[in-house]
Symmetry: D2
Subunit: 296 residues, 4 copies
């Protein structure tokens, strides 16, 4: 299979289950909603070493938000609902409550699982917090020095998927990175998913396990072009850099759509030679996304 002259390998991406919550942040301007969302989703690339995997799903106009102000949707992901609830409390409490002019709304009202994050954060009001209704939503008004902070009482979460991915094999680092950026641009337009790594791009794809027993994951040696002379690199001679795009999403459909959009975008960039995907023979996850199926 080829797209725009780029070979699409007949392989699959391997994802694993994760819990996903969606939060709608609004603010006085688009800029300040984005500032809050960037802080709240920062240090959120992988649950291996971060307290959550998080990212910005989309920008929202005032016609799409409960309080008719500009907004941003973010997805926060963690292993198990208990961890996710803790992530929600800390990230909303430390990075959204503290951000100028923001409000925080439930982006998954319809989900079965609901956390009472707003009900817990209200205590910051020291007894002066007040319950209210806004557009049919139960919210809390917490008095702040800079004005009241509005937060919905509950925030929903669903069973989602982490680790959707594809690999961009390129003639050199710059071509691979441009293609990765173009892919992240394209995925940024697909709702229901995020690319949690810096700028949406993973520079350091990994394999499961290591020669060091204390490490669960280590560099994907077979794809490291600087290890050619060591006889470890299995890449074709013309490939000199590989970037990975990792996608978390609310559903199999969202991740498939994101992979399709991202791969199509990457294949438009000159210097991209091949698209592949990372899997671990089922050791990592239960979800498989065959590239040729996703791209149909």
């Amino acid at each position: 299979m080829e797209i725009n002259g780029v070979t699409i390998e007949d392989t699959f991406a391997e994802g694993f289950p994760i819990k996903v919550a969606r939060v709608t942040i609004t603010a006085v301007t688009q800029h300040w909603a984005m500032v809050a969302a960037q802080e709240a989703t920062g240090f959120g690339t992988s649950v291996i070493g971060c307290s959550a995997e998080a990212g910005i799903e989309c920008i929202l106009g005032g016609d799409e938000t409960p309080d008719e102000r500009p907004g941003v949707n973010m997805l926060i992901c963690n292993m198990g609902y208990k961890n996710l609830e803790s992530s929600m409390l800390n990230r909303l409490g430390q990075c959204v409550l503290t951000a100028p002019t923001t409000a925080a709304f439930n982006g998954m009202q319809e989900a079965e699982k609901q956390f009472d994050t707003g009900k817990k954060l209200k205590f910051f009001g020291d007894g002066f917090e007040k319950q209210a209704e806004l557009c049919g939503r139960k919210v809390w008004k917490i008095p702040l020095m800079s004005g009241d902070f509005i937060i919905e009482e509950s925030f929903g979460a669903v069973d989602g998927i982490a680790g959707g991915n594809f690999l961009i094999l390129a003639q050199n680092q710059a071509a691979g990175l441009m293609a990765a950026e173009a892919a992240a641009n394209a995925i940024g337009r697909v709702r229901g998913c995020i690319t949690p790594f810096p700028g949406g791009v993973v520079a350091s794809g990994s394999k499961v396990g290591s020669k060091y027993k204390f490490l669960k994951a280590s560099t994907n040696t077979a794809f490291c072009t600087s290890l050619r002379e060591d006889g470890v690199c299995t890449l074709a001679e013309d490939v000199s850099a590989v970037f990975e795009i990792v996608i978390n999403g609310v559903s199999k459909e969202a991740i498939s759509a994101a992979m399709k959009a991202g791969i199509n975008a990457a294949c438009r960039v000159p210097g991209v030679l091949k698209i592949s995907a990372a899997n671990y023979e089922g050791k990592l996850g239960s979800h498989q996304f065959p590239l040729h199926v996703v791209l149909e």
Copy 2:
């Protein structure tokens, strides 16, 4: 005391000791160095609920970085060297190693305290990591799919100060926020310090303690203008919003310089009525920054 017609209250900011490390991140372009630094300093506003307090200190030209590429300095702060070492390992491992084209260098070579963060992260290379020297620095080359990641073996840290601050009392929320942004702009030009909150601004100043016994801090009720009718707000009638700027720094001098630059900038914004500072009668910290001294 007045600046540009704005009253500067005769009070002081109260800071507390914190450990501070500096990391220089470089990348192929300024953009990608900034992307990595933003991810690595995210979710880093307050150690109350974040695993560190972190922020971007300054942008660096290629003439200021070890590998002559564009760069960014970030400061990472935590209570005690043990916590800080853990923050360094996780934030560099998850957000800089994973970011495209980056390298990470010790921004405090001269400090007595040094962490071997690079030496620990090198294991990701699965045995193929190699030691090297770069501009007289001991570094590790870790092979990645997208090229080698260069990281210095050691990263230094010093006794710094957190909680430097001032308060902007304004006619309304917009004036206070514009002034806070102008202050953050000005502090962004002072080396040795960061403003760890979202966009450099705190919307939710707090007091120590709460009527809820399980809470260590709660909203600064005396400064909440929506609590005027409750008889709790002690602000003058013409003030309707207060923003706080919080500053962490490597030294008393850095924080003093930042406070001076920030206050001067805030006082240039129409609608700013008064500058004050947050202190807790010595309950919180051992460092005092009297506004009138700082502004001399």
Copy 3:
């Protein structure tokens, strides 16, 4: 009439006819498409002193562009088709052809009026330019040092409208500016229109004519709050700053939709006191947009 407690004056905006062309710029990444569009629409606020009025209409995903790359739509406006044709030639030739990795496509294929801008710019190829077909479009491939530049042969334009507007009367400058930014954010999501002034905001609303005979327009003295003591300012006492949002669009419907979205957004910002509109008793233009009708 009121929105969110803000009075909407019973007046109308006065627009005038202008010719409008739409150009789709694509590039390797969203960033580079935006860089080209910003350069090409710069120095384009008002035909009084600029060679065109121009702005960015919207961002496009690869699913919306002819070459499936990320893109940006820009609108270029001028008085009369002859002037507009000249603007197209200069702005595309100097700012898009010269921009890295871009292509330029006709955003109004269906329009009756078509300029042969691509056919004229092809001569830059010095005889090596080649005609081709791309997605059913007639394009020219112009060889450049950095790769071929693709430009469609023809670019369409229509009879549009300039000068759609509204005024934001605010408690102070900061509140007015925040509201103006929120309004520009909202209008940025409406297709078929642009806000050509810097950041989408006009700081210097004008009246027709002046005491100086050589000037066609001068500051709108009746709305200048610093002229209160001169007895010229007719604004209510509580207003201390007024910003104007000016909108150009492809149709009456586009401008009406933009005004509605913008006014609604502005009225969400604390410190906004009143919304009005600029008209010149029919001296300037033939199009009238009554606020109460537009907001229905």
Copy 4:
């Protein structure tokens, strides 16, 4: 000569005389100063088809501006003082006067040549403009709806140089563009110069003349890799894309420093094969910048 393994060709860049004015724009925040400067320097790549060549020289802290607010310096360039005066009047009048919260100051007080741009723009005040002194500068206060606009009476200009340049020959388009961006980042830190093309990069280097007699400049066919089969391209086989960086500056020293910084930065990007420069055997300009001298 080599830098980081990249060959530096023994050739020279050819520049030509141009007149250069510097304007300091300040605003309430860094963001709004930049918004004004971007609009005012837009559509300003080449005097072949633009009404000026313009760009942003540097960002200024409040400690570097006359009114102690955040600022931006821009350079505006044109052929002859008469043209430049006209550019100043139009660009300041249409893009800075109209921009929210801005002020405009003379960035070349010491220059012999001074335009009375502020004195001419003051008429917009319709008789209510007032003269004042600010930090020893003679300024005009023009009443606007959003507050007074402050503009200095005079703006200085000097004999400068346009067309400083170098060429980046790369393995592919992405590597060339990354290197060009890194070069523009580096030059952005050198005072006294600008890179007027979109994002600081020229995609369409040209030669003097054309087979079409009505064209003064056409694509640099010898460097177009898509013309290899036509036998016109003289580039080595491994080069597949060339980008040009064009620099205008206030002096020979500024341009030399910018070329040095930019070339050094470009040579740090993998995939860059060679650095050259554009000259026209003296047909274009009187200033020569030999690469080997500039890089000493």
